[in-house]
């Protein structure tokens, strides 16, 4: 497992997202390589500013929110 810590700003997130074939649209939402907005672990579209974590596999996007991160922990890390 490779852990990457990123600085919490849009430019840094955009840099990393683009390296993963994702991007950020004009409204600030995270998109896939086709430009469609991705769905996060809560089943919602996710603003790049709210993105707290991203993991490999089927690429799971998680908001920087205690409950969303707890959901990721219970589902994938426990």
């Amino acid at each position: 497992m490779l852990n990457i810590t990123i600085f919490n700003n849009i430019a840094t997130k955009k840099f990393v997202l683009q390296a993963l074939n994702n991007d950020i649209d004009a409204s600030g939402y995270v998109t896939d390589k086709l430009g469609n907005r991705v769905i996060d672990i809560d089943g919602m579209e996710i603003l790049a500013k709210d993105l707290g974590m991203l993991s490999s596999g089927s690429k799971i996007f998680v908001k920087d929110n205690m409950v969303s991160l707890a959901k990721f922990y219970l589902k994938y890390e426990r």
Binding site: M1, L2, N3, I4, T5, I6, F7, N8, N9, I10, A11, T12, F15, V16, Q18, A19, L20, N21, D42, L51, G52, M53, L54, S55, S56, G57, V62, D64, N65, M66, V67, S68, L69, A70, K71, F72, Y73, L74, E77, R78
Partner: protein
């Protein structure tokens, strides 16, 4: 690309960029590849022309991450995850109960609620408020309700107890359905509980307690619980309960329990 090759390439690029960029990469190698870590600092500080020169780095990341398991996170999320892991490790039996008996949509809310309670017990009110707000952002009223219930100890004191009495060690589906219906009533309506917050004034509070007493009687339950945290809320709760008990002769007993000096008050009105 094997991780070692990825890191070797990364190192070469970092060396090339070092003099020109404020961007820094740190590799923490605890002699275990699994523990290696890259820290990407503020790319936002770089100019567009500088960013263009980073294409090679972006391409390398793209190649490196395509075949590796990875977790990319910012520091605040890492701190929250660490808190979640600690809470889970300190409460294994409660967590087991949550996962086995409560609705899946509530699992992460209760785990967050247990974290909130740990912060509350440590007197970190600002963090308590932050976690509660996040629970509300995630799940609205239900998030706020579970935050209050978890903080007041309802999971162990009531919900687990109700489950134990109803199901015991049996695997009875109808008993489980009954338990879920009572659970929903507690979380959704807090039908026999009043949480005294700063926004409730005296008259509203008296009316709310009277309504809860009425509904609790109708449901043939025995007690209404009133919780207040903080001096001003505690005083408000005591005054309101005094009023309700004075006006309702059938209310025969009142017990008051303090938890943490006079900061956290639990009043039980027995019907």
């Amino acid at each position: 690309m094997p991780l070692d090759v990825f890191f070797n390439k990364l190192e070469k690029i970092i060396l090339q960029l070092k003099a020109d960029f404020r961007l820094t990469f740190v590799k923490i190698d605890n002699r275990k590849i699994d523990n290696r870590k890259i820290i990407i600092n503020n790319i936002g500080e770089l100019s567009q022309s500088e960013l263009k020169k980073l294409t090679s780095l972006q391409n390398l990341l793209s190649d490196g991450l395509s075949s590796e398991k990875y977790k990319i996170s910012e520091e605040k999320s890492q701190n929250k995850t660490a808190q979640i892991q600690k809470t889970a490790a300190r409460n294994p039996k409660i967590l087991e109960f949550i996962i086995e008996y409560l609705p899946p949509k509530d699992h992460s809310l209760w785990l967050s609620g247990l974290s909130l309670r740990e912060k509350s017990k440590a007197g970190k009110q600002e963090e308590v408020q932050q976690i509660k707000e996040q629970m509300m952002i995630n799940a609205g009223w239900r998030g706020a309700s579970i935050a209050n219930l978890a903080n007041a100890g309802y999971l162990e004191d009531h919900i687990m107890e109700i489950q134990r009495v109803l199901l015991g060690n049996t695997d009875n589906n109808s008993a489980h359905q009954k338990f879920l219906s009572i659970y929903e009533e507690i979380v959704d309506e807090q039908s026999f509980i009043v949480f005294v917050g700063a926004t409730k004034d005296g008259e509203d509070l008296i009316t709310e307690i009277e309504n809860k007493v009425k509904r609790t009687r109708e449901a043939a339950r025995e007690c209404v619980y009133i919780h207040a945290i903080g001096r001003s809320n505690v005083r408000k709760a005591k005054d309101a309960v005094d009023n309700v008990v004075k006006n309702d002769k059938k209310l025969c007993e009142e017990s008051i329990a303090f938890n943490g000096g006079n900061k956290h008050l639990k009043i039980t009105i027995e019907l």
